[in-house]
């Protein structure tokens, strides 16, 4: 029998596929992030979005099941991390939190522990809800996960015992530099890549391709989806927590429809089938969005001043999403992982 390793066509761990996106992420973050304070904030936000898009890629990209519910896990992660790190003094005195449970008001942990707890809580809640949600397919899954987002939104919006309700949670410590969010994004990138090349990732993609053939190969569709949903819930929880430490506050509206639409758009535009697609989608939408935002604000770009009406950015992203769905449903990267261009092949 021949040597087994690296059979062509088999999904293998590839350093290029992992290091390519990682290096691009590092270069993008450092080049843009260190150019100005406002761009540093933009890069920090981009890194949060990237972790969220990775969370969506793990589940939506690999299983093919649409989820509008990941905003709920991000919301949960943001509240957990925000409430655990906001100073006790602020939580006990802020006008928006007079009803807050005393046990929550009196607790304070460090940033890293709170991020870990946020990820765990996101994963556990996703694991529990996944028991029921993962039995659904197609439209039913989309509606049920949207309902989950609605439940989470209404819970936090109307409940002042577990947060500030419709108000903002003040005093959430902000990331002081670029390194922590960048490190977290790189960690998420490595974890998602390892998951994608593992048996779970590969069998999950089989269920996306054909959910009748997959059980004939012994694949328990509900089980693999549940595992992926829990893991992506943990990542969404982490993304939400990161977002709260970039914004320095937690407001339930920040994780609702706009957040859900934006992050799903990033995934679809980049290509839902790969982490490379998740990165390209995030960077494209953030970069173009930033330029359009500056135009909306009447700022000059490279000496050129173009005034765009408010809302132009959202319209552009929506239009790009429609174009992507119509003509390039597998996204800019065609769902492929990072690879160096093969110039030799082209010249032949």
């Amino acid at each position: 029998m021949k040597k087994i390793k690296n059979i062509s066509g088999i999904t293998h761990f590839s350093l290029t596929e992992l290091l390519g996106p990682a290096l691009i992420l590092i270069v993008f973050s450092c080049l843009i992030g260190f150019s100005s304070a406002s761009l540093m904030l933009t890069v920090q936000l981009a890194l949060c979005y990237f972790v969220m898009v990775l969370a969506l890629q793990v589940f939506v990209g690999n299983s093919g099941v649409l989820s509008f519910g990941h905003g709920a896990f991000a919301m949960l992660g943001a509240f957990v991390s925000g409430l655990l790190t906001a100073p006790v003094r602020i939580k006990n005195n802020a006008l928006s939190m007079t009803d807050l449970l005393q046990s929550i008001a009196d607790i304070q942990v460090n940033l890293y522990l709170s991020l870990l707890i946020a990820a765990i809580v996101g994963g556990v809640v996703a694991g529990i809800t996944g028991v029921f949600l993962m039995r659904l397919n197609g439209l039913a899954a989309g509606i049920a996960t949207f309902a989950l987002l609605g439940v989470a939104y209404n819970f936090f919006f109307n409940n002042t015992k577990f947060g500030p309700g419709s108000q903002a949670l003040p005093g959430v410590p902000k990331f002081q530099n670029l390194f922590i969010p960048l490190l977290l994004a790189l960690l998420a990138l490595v974890l998602v890549y390892l998951l994608n090349v593992s048996s779970i990732g590969r069998t999950l993609r089989a269920t996306r391709e054909d959910n009748l053939a997959a059980p004939a190969l012994g694949i328990n569709i509900i089980r693999v989806r549940r595992i992926a949903f829990a893991l992506s819930g943990a990542l969404a929880g982490l993304a939400g927590a990161m977002y709260s430490h970039v914004a320095g506050t937690v407001q339930v509206q920040d994780y609702y429809l706009g957040f859900t639409f934006l992050t799903l758009s990033m995934l679809v535009i980049g290509g839902s089938g790969s982490i490379w697609g998740a990165l390209v989608g995030t960077l494209l939408v953030i970069s173009v969005g930033q330029v359009l935002l500056m135009m909306e604000q009447g700022k000059a770009i490279f000496g050129l001043s173009i005034d765009l009406p408010n809302g132009a950015r959202a319209i552009f992203i929506a239009a790009t999403l429609v174009v992507a769905l119509l003509w390039r449903s597998s996204g800019v990267t065609n769902g492929k992982e990072f690879a160096f261009p093969n110039f030799k092949k082209k010249s032949n």
Partner: protein, 250 residues
Amino acid sequence: MESSFSATGISKSFGALKVLENVSITINSGEMVGLLGPNGAGKTTFINIVAGYEHQDSGSVSLDGNSLDGMAPHNRARIGLARTFQSGRLFSNLSVSENIALGALGLGISAKIANERTNSILEILNLEPLANLNAGSISHGNARLVGLARAVAANPKYLIMDEPAAGLNEHEVPHLLEALSKINKDLGCGMFLVEHNVGLVAKACSRVAVLNTGNLIFDGTPFDALNNDAVKTAYLGDTSLEETEESSKK
């Protein structure tokens, strides 16, 4: 005790339409059994029932004496019952190698062993040149072989094949026959070949069962099947009537 897979007294109706009526078939380990029948005879429904994709109204399916009734398809696959589909149902956006490897990965087998098996199967079935191609881009005949290879990667005790020769041309059928013989010889698994192609079944199988309008009308050797009046009538219609008509024309 010798391993065997049996379906006993299987009946199934869809509304008022009786699709299967009291059908019983047993396959022993290492045996290759053919199931013949004209269109609408109930062959695919029978496969769907034994693989767990549909539930029978009555009767029982068992493996080595243990009942499989109520067991989900993925659990049946995990205890050694593999199946192929009439339409192939390959994972068209994944490579041929990846499709085959998933046959083993789906059972929870390690990636290393899955890759070993994939390599070996690609070689046995002469599919190596296709390994890196997208499964959606290969020919119909090759897709049938890849579907077979994927099921074989699970190293099953019993392999159920739903019309693997459907749509194959005269050059591809001998290739399939060769592949079936290799699988039977190398794996030693029981094989259940559901087919239209009488020639293929007669060459490949030691025993043949024939279904007609949901009833099992024959179970015996291929030679006896070809000489059985009930089988001839099921496949060719009422030949005595045709002969009478031809002689009256003369």
